[in-house]
């Protein structure tokens, strides 16, 4: 090949790439349009197929509807299921389905859809969500019954998960592996137009939509007629896009950016209660944390208030127990909650035989009180680690920080190579206690290595012997009270979810509904001008 030919082919490639990209972005001027940026946790979703997905973005909640919606107060609301009923023994769930619902491809939504849908989870990574369902019976066109393998009061929670968006059976079976990539068909308020993985998804309004849930004011077609959801990994870049009007709304803003947001006149933000807790995890099998007194002293040395103020700029809540505050299970005996008490922490260590040396570092049996704090390289977590490091210095504990990527952190926890770790979880259900502290989950996710008969007995009751929701609540409270009394973790912070938007471009309802800013609020957002 000669040089000229080489250069020519290079420029053709460049040109083609440029044109291809430009072509995909021809805007229709007259319609109200909006651009949202996905939150950092949602970035990199490879497709929008809720059944096969391990990572789903907000996009899925816009294309698909769920049977049941969950509100900000964790209450459940009908959507494609108009009503539901659980038999007293918990072994049968009956759902009445909404009528007149159609998929984007014109196919009707009915009982047959559900009978096709539930078995599709077999072998998928989301199988566990409907694991307790033995089979689905079609009672009539708009009534289905789930016959259970075991009682599962938590099924209703699972059905409100974003993985429970219902795709069109016809389109799903026809598209095969391409479903969620080149096409995605649901009954939701937005229809799929295009998707560039790692970059953006373009959606258009479903003008036939008339079955909005009662979480939305607008039950009909969404006000935004064309919605682009972009993926911007760097928070600074996303913020700059918002500032310059390239993006109208950020679905997720790190707390560190809020002061900068507040300084901008045309920007505003909304918050929703958080989805998880930032906490310190102990490894009870690694000294010195085998000793409950050391764990307790560590817990009392952490000043949640100071962390809230500096790391999280005062946004969110201090956490004093393990569950998010909107869960009723979180209301435990206040005396058991963990609060900052430096004096008592020092006293506990004195009693446990850890004597302060001249340099202020405690020593016992000739060994200094020196520990490793494992954390992952995400800003808030890293900063929490840094401030915890400074706070633990006050009780004579020397902390060395080890920052790893998230997978390596998990690997360390699994191998029990950690002593203390800054962790964060996102889960709005009390069964997270089982996940992190059940003996059956040693070594991971129960990386605390906690093995205790009493604790496990309370866990079994809560997980397997709760027939009703009320029973379940009471059982989980007792379970957490046992765990917190053993000082297996130090709750630190309950983040809120922040959504920032440009108020010269978008009108966002003052009060958000749902557990996250997803479909329920998206259909109510209006474009200004």
């Amino acid at each position: 090949m000669n040089r000229r030919g080489f250069l020519a082919s290079v420029s053709v490639v460049t040109l083609a790439a440029g044109l291809g990209l430009a072509g995909g972005y021809s805007a229709r001027a007259s319609e109200p349009e909006a651009v949202f940026a996905l939150g950092s946790a949602e970035i990199g979703a490879p497709h929008h197929d809720p059944i096969r997905a391990t990572l789903l973005s907000t996009v899925a909640t816009l294309i698909y509807d769920r049977l049941i919606e969950q509100d900000v107060d964790q209450s459940y609301h009908p959507h494609l299921a108009e009503s539901w009923e659980n038999s007293p023994d918990g072994m049968n769930w009956t759902f009445k389905l909404r009528q007149g619902v159609r998929f984007h491809d014109g196919e009707p939504f009915n009982a047959a859809t559900i009978a096709w849908w539930i078995p599709k989870f077999k072998g998928s990574p989301n199988e566990y969500l409907v694991d307790a369902v033995d089979r689905v019976e079609v009672v009539d066109d708009y009534t289905v019954r789930f016959v259970m393998k075991r009682a599962e009061p938590n099924l209703i929670y699972n059905l409100a998960s974003s993985f429970m968006g219902i795709p069109s059976p016809k389109a799903y079976d026809a598209a095969g592996d391409n479903f969620g990539v080149t096409e995605a068909v649901g009954t939701g308020p937005f229809m799929f137009e295009s998707f560039a993985v790692g970059q953006e998804t373009v959606l258009v309004a479903n003008e036939d939509y008339s079955w909005g849930s009662d979480l939305s004011n607008n039950k009909g077609a969404p006000h935004v007629k064309r919605l682009t959801l972009r993926e911007i990994p760097d928070a600074s870049t996303a913020f700059l896009e918002l500032k310059t009007g390239g993006v109208g709304l950020l679905l997720g803003v790190p707390d560190q950016f809020l002061p900068q947001l507040q300084a901008e006149e045309m920007l505003d933000f909304r918050s929703l209660p958080g989805f998880g807790i930032t906490y310190l995890a102990f490894n009870t099998r690694a000294e010195p944390f085998g000793d409950a007194a050391v764990r307790q002293a560590t817990a009392l040395a952490v000043d949640q208030g100071a962390i809230l103020k500096s790391v999280f700029n005062g946004i969110g809540l201090e956490a004093h127990q393990f569950l998010i505050s909107t869960l009723v299970e979180s209301k435990i005996d206040p005396k058991l909650e963990i609060h900052h008490d430096l004096a008592k922490a020092n006293e506990l260590l004195d009693k446990a035989g850890w004597q302060r040396g001249d340099d202020g570092i405690r020593v016992k049996d000739g060994k200094p009180l020196k520990i490793k704090l494992t954390a992952q390289s995400e800003t808030a977590i890293k900063r929490t680690a840094e401030i915890v490091q400074a706070q633990l210095k006050a009780i004579g504990m020397v902390v060395e920080i080890d920052i790893f990527d998230s997978t390596t952190v998990v690997d360390q926890l699994k191998k029990g190579q950690h002593q203390l770790a800054v962790r964060q979880y996102g889960w709005n259900n009390a069964d997270i206690l089982d996940w992190f502290f059940s003996t059956t989950n040693i070594p991971y996710p129960n990386s605390s290595g906690w093995q205790d008969e009493k604790s496990q007995e309370l866990r079994n009751v809560a997980m397997q012997q709760s027939k009703t929701q009320d029973e379940r609540v009471a059982n989980f409270r007792k379970y957490q009270e046992n765990l917190i009394g053993n000082f297996l973790f130090v709750p630190i912070h309950e983040p809120v979810q922040n959504y920032a938007f440009n108020k010269t471009m978008l009108d966002v309802p003052a009060k958000l509904r749902g557990t996250q800013l997803v479909q329920a609020t998206a259909v109510d957002i209006k474009v200004i001008g």
């Binding site: 600074s236 500096s310 401030i387 060395e400 920052i403």
Partner: protein, 283 residues
């Protein structure tokens, strides 16, 4: 030979460019060495009452997100950034000299295999090699040092090899061998000392690149473990306050840029003084 090189250094410093850059680098090294005494505050002293404050008389470079003194952190950061890059390049040069000399001197299959691998890594983006290696070795400065050392190994191996190959063909080497000298003796006493000058100049310039690479790894949250500051780590955590405390990110960035510029200028001055053919960059 040694005297010649010391003379060259003197000559380099005596030029304008060489003088200015030499003085800056000397100051920097002194600052890094005596960081604990020169810092106005302990680098890890948090004061949540004065977070993100703009530069002032009490805090010349302002404070960061924990109310720590940015100047103190930058001085200590210089220590981290310099020691990481110098150590890494030192290891890289040492390995590269041995590998390159062996390949260049003996040639053959061994040479071909090593050079294939070396060429491959040379064309691979350093940042990807470094990220991969840090993932394997683990975070912390050791990981970063080893990653940078390996990322730059190819350059020094290649350079040494080329030097040795061209020196080998010179007549005095044949003469030495004909006098009955062993390979090791020829290689280490005659060839390597002569090949050293360009490699050392290249090493100096690579130290600049290594500082940037360290900063970039710091941007991905790898490297210095908190509260130890490095310029890269400071820039990385500074991105979150880009608008309310821009000095936290701007000043370390400037420090990196200036240092690398001066290293390059000094390197150029040394090249000119040593009269090493500046060609080595192509090798």
């Amino acid at each position: 030979m040694i005297r010649h090189r010391a003379l060259a250094m003197l000559k380099a410093v005596s030029t304008f460019k060489g003088g200015i850059s030499g003085a800056f680098l000397l100051l920097l090294v002194i600052g890094a060495l005596f960081a604990p005494w020169l810092s106005p505050y302990p680098y890890d002293q948090q004061d949540l009452g004065i977070m993100n404050q703009a530069p002032s008389l009490t805090h010349l470079f302002g404070t960061d997100e924990f109310g720590r003194d940015v100047l103190s952190r930058m001085i200590t950061g210089a220590r981290t950034s310099l020691s990481v890059s110098i150590t890494a390049i030192g290891i890289s040069v040492a390995l590269g000299l041995v590998l390159g000399a062996t390949c260049g001197y003996f040639g053959g299959t061994f040479d071909r295999i090593v050079m294939t691998v070396i060429d491959l890594t040379w064309s691979f983006p350093e940042i990807l090699i470094a990220l991969m290696l840090v993932a394997i070795i683990g975070p912390g400065l050791e990981g970063v040092v080893i990653a940078i050392a390996i990322a730059y190994l190819a350059q020094f191996t290649r350079l040494t090899r080329t030097q040795i190959m061209s020196l080998k063909s010179e007549t005095y080497v044949e003469a030495t061998i004909s006098l009955g000298a062993g390979h090791a003796h020829v290689l280490f006493s005659h060839l390597l000392p002569n090949a050293l000058a360009p490699v050392l100049v290249a090493a100096m310039l690579a130290t600049g690149d290594a500082i940037i690479l360290e900063a970039t790894l710091g941007f991905f949250g790898l490297g210095a473990q908190p509260p130890t500051p490095s310029w890269g780590a400071m820039m990385s955590s500074g991105t979150a306050q880009l608008f309310i405390a821009p000095w936290v990110i701007l000043l370390p960035g400037l420090a990196v840029a200036l240092t690398v510029v001066f290293i390059n200028l000094f390197g150029d001055a040394v090249i000119a003084a040593l009269d090493v053919r500046a060609k080595f960059r192509e090798a």
